[in-house]
């Protein structure tokens, strides 16, 4: 079900749907443009390999691991320490 020629074609179908082409079927030049569509798109191919799921920098470090704890000079930390010092007096 997947080969490259059909893929290109299928892309075309998607493009046509978002009405950015000038090809004949896009009869909606004027109409109240579809409210920006949040629909999950058809993938351009049916299946792909594990490698093709990887984003350029790999799938590591996608969630924050650093807590910037060393950054004691961060504005708020400095202010906070100043305020707390006042309390101590």
């Amino acid at each position: 079900m997947s080969s490259n020629a059909p893929t290109a074609k299928h892309d075309k179908a998607n493009v046509a749907d978002s009405k950015t082409t000038e090809q004949p079927l896009s009869q909606d030049k004027k109409p109240a443009a579809l409210e920006e569509d949040d629909e999950f798109e058809d993938f351009p191919v049916e299946d792909w390999t594990e490698e093709e799921t990887q984003i350029p920098n790999g799938n590591a470090h996608l969630w924050e691991e650093s807590w910037d704890d060393d950054d004691t000079n961060e504005d708020f930390a400095v202010q906070l320490r100043a305020e707390l010092k006042k309390l101590g007096k």
Binding site: P6, L25, D47, W67, L84
Partner: protein, 464 residues
């Protein structure tokens, strides 16, 4: 007619669903924009059936049974009739007089084509792969139905429908008549897949279950009848003899997991939602930017709730649009900036509500608060070292005056004209809540006006 059917024969000879679906597409290929027009011009209403029959049957190269040939003839004729309406609609559009009636003719003929497909597949006239060709036809049907509803809505302006009503449900239902009709057609296709009794799995229509389910999800979401999707999920879960999920193509799996994840998300079953969305994310086609962004739209709020995990810049960079939307909120959570959080939430409210993530994001204020309290803990520093201890042994102060937390909250909240006053009782209440939710470990000693934190893991999962 011979010449224009040649592409069909070539497509059919591949034995693959997609090439045949391309032949039967309502959109001409980019390399041959005049294809629909040529196809339409090659015949006329009276002759089309005879000509297609002659072209298909005279040429034995295709080697199909008589029964199958009759089915394809019916489909190709149905397709020709739809193409004719598409061309007429096109011409009308070029002359600026395309109305709802002309577009409805496109809708009706395409609906006929889809129904014929269902009829021939359930009658066993077509090869097993035809179910996927039907999927493409049905997907076009969905788009045509959406467009038909738009033309109908324009022909019957909403003002006349609801001028005396502020109930937005009225115009909404009035506008999706055709898509609702299409939804019923998709139900039939779904049943056709799910209920296939062919014991030979390699020829089973059960392979079409997930792609048709996805079509139904898209339709129900568009119709704002999301809860109907649950029936689809239940039917699939109840069908014990489907092929193993991991054997389906990734396009089917990722889309299915995205929708089941969003459904779980909307039911606030965040653990399930995270599992499904993570699976969708992990297998998503790297170049499908929009889909990745959609998955993250729900996965990020989900993980904020389940894991208190904050997306890294690397992750947000994968979805620039989403980063613009929730980036400010995320950075406030990270900094423990409550006022900033409230402003960012208010700022993004319309967009968050539209994507149905507002309530979930609102709950992540707890994480922002946790991060603020954590700073108070860090600012308190360490207990003095006893004799013989080195820096390595030092322990953070675990008894922290309530007033320290109150001070931090007042700095974080009352500042910058937020107009919020934080009472002492409220501070205790916020702290108690954090302890109750497991975001902070320890207890409040009211007698001493102190918070006594665990010496180990005062703020679980945050390295202290």
């Amino acid at each position: 007619m011979e010449a224009v059917l040649e592409p069909f024969k070539q497509a059919y000879a591949t034995g693959l669903a997609q090439p045949v679906a391309e032949f039967l597409s309502p959109i001409p290929p980019g390399r041959d924009p005049g294809r629909l027009y040529d196809f339409y011009r090659a015949s006329n209403d009276d002759k089309i059936e005879g000509e297609v029959r002659y072209a298909l049957k005279a040429n034995r190269k295709t080697r199909m049974s008589n029964k199958e040939a009759e089915a394809w003839i019916d489909l190709i004729v149905g397709y020709w009739r739809a193409v004719k309406q598409i061309i007429l609609a096109d011409e009308a559009a070029n002359q600026g007089r395309l109305g709802d009636r002309q577009y409805l003719a496109v809708y009706d003929t395409w609906k006929d084509l889809t129904s014929s497909f269902i009829k021939h597949i359930s009658g066993g006239s077509l090869p097993p792969w035809a179910i996927f060709t039907l999927y493409f036809t049905a997907n076009h049907f969905r788009r045509i139905a959406i467009k038909a509803d738009e033309y109908l809505a324009r022909a019957k302006p909403a003002t006349s429908v609801n001028s005396f009503s502020d109930d937005i449900v009225v115009p909404q239902t009035a506008r999706s008549e055709k898509l609702e009709e299409a939804a019923r057609v998709f139900n039939r296709v779904f049943a056709l897949c799910l209920g296939d009794r062919n014991p030979d799995m390699s020829e089973s229509r059960k392979w079409g279950v997930y792609c048709i389910a996805n079509l139904q999800f898209k339709t129900y979401f568009k119709l704002k009848a999301i809860s109907l999707s649950k029936n689809v999920v239940k039917s699939i879960a109840a069908q014990s003899d489907l092929p193993p999920f991991h054997l389906y193509p990734r396009a089917h799996r990722v889309t299915y997991r995205y929708y089941t994840g969003v459904l779980a998300f909307l039911q606030e079953d965040y653990a399930q939602a995270e599992k499904d969305l993570q699976e969708a994310w992990d297998s998503c086609y790297a170049r499908s930017q929009k889909n990745k962004s959609l998955i993250l739209t729900y996965l990020i709020p989900c993980r904020l709730i389940t894991q208190h995990a904050i997306p890294s810049a690397t992750l947000l960079a994968e979805a620039p649009g989403l980063a613009r939307l929730i980036g400010p909120l995320v950075s406030c959570i990270k900094k423990g900036d409550l006022t900033g959080f409230d402003n960012a939430l208010a700022e993004g409210e319309p967009a968050f509500v539209k994507r149905r993530i507002f309530l979930t994001l609102e709950r992540s204020r707890d994480i922002a608060l946790r991060n603020l309290l954590r700073k108070v803990y860090l600012a308190a520093g360490y207990d003095e070292l006893k004799e013989g201890q080195t820096d390595k042994d030092r322990i953070r102060k675990s008894r922290i005056p309530l007033i320290n937390f109150a001070t931090a909250l007042r700095m974080g909240l009352s500042g910058e004209g937020s107009g919020q006053v934080v009472e002492d009782d409220e501070v205790e209440c916020l702290l108690a809540n954090q302890i109750y939710k497991g975001l902070m470990k320890g207890y409040i000693s009211r007698e001493h006006a102190m918070v006594v934190l665990n010496k180990k893991g005062a703020f679980p999962g945050t390295r202290i």
